[in-house]
Structures are given as structure tokens and as C-alpha cells.
Amino acid sequence: MGTLKVSNIDAVYASSKANEKVVLHNISFEIGEGEFFVVVGPSGSGKTTLLNLVAGFQFPAKGRIELDGVEVNGPSAERGVVFQQDALLPWLTVIQNVAFGLQLKGVDKQTREFTAKNILNLVGLKGFEAHHIWELSGGMKQRVNLARAIVVDPQLLLMDEPFGALDAFTKEQMQVLVLKVWHETGKQILLITHDIEEAIFMATKLLLLTSSPGKVAQILHLDFGKRLIAGENVRQIKADPQFIEIREKVLEHFFSEQVI
């Protein structure tokens, strides 16, 4: 198993030849094995653009993105993506949605439903196999999205504000769930968020992005997520003076940037 290596990338949007806008500038980082990598930054700093580049939905103007030494040149099943709610297929049931990636690979029905069922159990949706997507709450839909992405066993899991539309309580449940899934599957994760508390709580490596154009301001090494895995309580972790100190520092960093 290898690493995702992002080297000196620039992302540019051009509405016309003369009107180019550099959105990301000289971004470099690596996501190692079992790493939970989080990118946090203000709105418009290019977070979604960065994720799209890694997913292969768009291409950098400069620089290279490699997974295991192979250059990324389009979407592929080894880089799974957890989308927001409307990415699910409403004509399929919950279990069919989760099994969809296996169906595409040509896995037979019995095997894929067996695998999908196990993953539904893992994300806490046991008993919802036959439900329709429109019968689920927002939080449950996100669980299905997560399950669908991990069923094909990607090496790297990409998530763009996966809990952005959820209420505070459901959001925290999902954070805990994703940490649990991360721990149990051992996947590398790239999570994008603008929620600073979420970022600090989940990351083993946290990239702070400045805005216009997005540049790497700092990369922090953290271990609050690992403390949760080790059995500590969420509220306890988030109320820990150490946690609060880091949170305030990051907040201060973003506010001071705003003033300039």
C-alpha cells in the first residue's frame, strides 16, 4: 500500500483566455497509509476544487498527483468519493445502492448483497436494506453514501463536507462513525470541511488552507481521533483544554487572515 502524493499543484479557472483565476497555488502534501487527512479552509479557498483534482474529475494546471506512483488521470474505483445526499440512485433500494459498485464490477447478486449487508451493519443501517432512498433521513442517506463508497474497497476515501447538511447531533454521530469505519477498514481518508472543530477532532494530519488563491498555510499533526478509538468519550475529547487551545489557535489564524 502506498501514498497519495500531491506535488506543487496549481488549479486555474478560465472564464475566458484573458480572464484566468488561480484558485489553488503550489499545493503539496502526502497522505500516507492509514492517514486521516483533513483540509480546512474558508469558503472559496478551493477545497472542493482540491478534492475534485484528487478524485480525477478535473485536472491541475501545474504539478502532479500520484497514487502509488501512478499519475491520476481520471476517476477510478481506487479513489472512492462520499458525496452529498443527491448522489444516491432513487430507483434502487438501500442495499442495491450500496451494492451498485459491485454490480458494475460484475459480482454476482448473492455475493454483492452479502457484502453490502455487512457494510450496512458496519454503518449502523441494519434492517434498512429494503428501504427506498426517499424514506431515509439526511443522516441515514449519508450513511448509505459512506457504505456505497467503501463497498468496492477503495484505497483512498474522499469526502467533501459530508456532514455539512446535518444537524449538530447527527453530525457528531457521523464523525464518530467515520472514525470507527476508518479504524476498522484501515483506509486512507481525505476529508474536506469548513468546520474547524470537526477538522481538529478527526484529523491525524490537518492542512490549513489560506484563501484566494488557496495555499498551504500549515500542516498540523493531531491525535484526537485516535483517542476516540482508544475508548475516550467524544464530549470529553472536544472539551479537553488541549483541544480547545488548538481550536482557538486555528480560529485565530483564520480570523487574522480575514483582517489582511
Binding site: 481520471g74 479513489r79 458525496f83 427506498h132
Partner: protein, 258 residues
Amino acid sequence: MDIFKQKFWISITTVLALIALWALAAYLAWVPPLYLPSPLSVLIKFNELLNKGYMDATLWQHLSASLNRVGLALILAISVAVPVGIAIGINRVLHAAIDPLIEFYRPVPPLAYLPLIVIWFGIGEFSKVLLIALAIFAPVVVSTANGVRSVSAVRIRAAQSLGATQYQIVRYVILPSALPDILTGVRIGLGIGWSTLVAAELIAATQGLGFLIQSASQFLVTDLVIAGILLIASVAYSLEIVLRCLQKKLVPWSGKSH
């Protein structure tokens, strides 16, 4: 549902009132029977049609002749229009190439190109089916292409990230996503096709509801003309209902916020 019931009774009342007015007009001879026969004589004529048929064919033969033509035309139109609609919905070059052609012929009434079809293909069954098929084709292509173009990019990206091939994306994401629009196109197309039927059956038909009206009007059998019109309307209405039920069954997710 109260509002639903209320609406239903309002509709029934309107229809009954109209029939009563019609009966009154006929009874008081406001209009000569040649122009407006009474509802009763239309009913009698209908009964006669049911028992004896018209012009060497039973009512069922007329009805099935018409339904066969429309059905055949529908199959023909859908089997070409859906693939074409998907292709121009996906591919910009194809869209640029084909869309003007469709937009150009779409507003032309079928009666206007009927003579051309007769010159090209004669007066046989094929010409009638082709005329109806052409009428159905345009709305199905247009709504299929629209449906394809409005498939959410996120769904497609999600499939790509699960390793889907281009064909799998069309088959498992785009086609089902566009299905509600395709069915709406079919509904509209079937409506247009059915109304083109009368025009199609002007081409030397010896059976069919359009032929029946046409022929009855030549002999000034007004009550039969009216019976035929009501028959055509009820068939169209039933088809619409059937398609709506089909739509509910095939795309139960449509209209549900998700």
C-alpha cells in the same frame, strides 16, 4: 381527501350540465338535428354501431385498426427516439447536428407533410403508421434529450468513482434518471399521435375510428360523427390514464424530494 372529492363532483356536474343543455337544445329544436342530433339519437347510433358495426366492419375492428396503427407507430417512434434522444443529450456535436432538424419539422402539422408521405410511400398501411410515428417522434426525442441533459453531474461522478464504464453510466445512471422525462414525452407524443390518427386514416383507409368519422360526415350522418368523436376522446383519455398509472409504477421516486 376532501379537495379531491370536491374536484371530482365539480367535474361531474359540468359534464352533466353540458349534456343537459345539449339535450335541451335538441329537444327544443334550437338547432336542426342535421347539425345537432339529440344525445339519445347519438346513443342509439352508438348502440347500432356496437351491434351491427359500420361499413363491413364491427366497432371492435375499427377500434383495433386504429389502436394497432397508433401502437405500431408508438413502438417505432420510441425505439428510434429514445436512443437518438440519449445520443444528442450526451453528445454536444450530435446535438448541434440533429437538434435543428427536429426543431424545424416539429412545429409542422402532420397534415402538411401527409401528401409528401403519400407520394413517397403510397397509400398503404405503412404511410399511416409512419405519419403517426413522426408525430410521436419529436416530443419523445426532445424530452429524452432534456432528461439526459438534466441528470445530476454528481450521480455520474459517483458512478465514475465506483469504476463505471461509459456504457454502464448510460445504462445504469442516465437512462433511469431520464425515465420520468422520457415517459412524459411518450405521454405527450401519444396524445399528438392519437389526434394525428384521423388525418392518417384519411389515406384510403377502410377501417378505423378516423375513417368512420370521415365516412359518416360524407353521408351527413351527424349522430355517428358525434359518436365517433366521443369514442376517439374516450380512448385518448383512457390511454392518458393508463400512461399516468404506468408512470407512477415505473418511476415512483419522481416528484419525491430526495
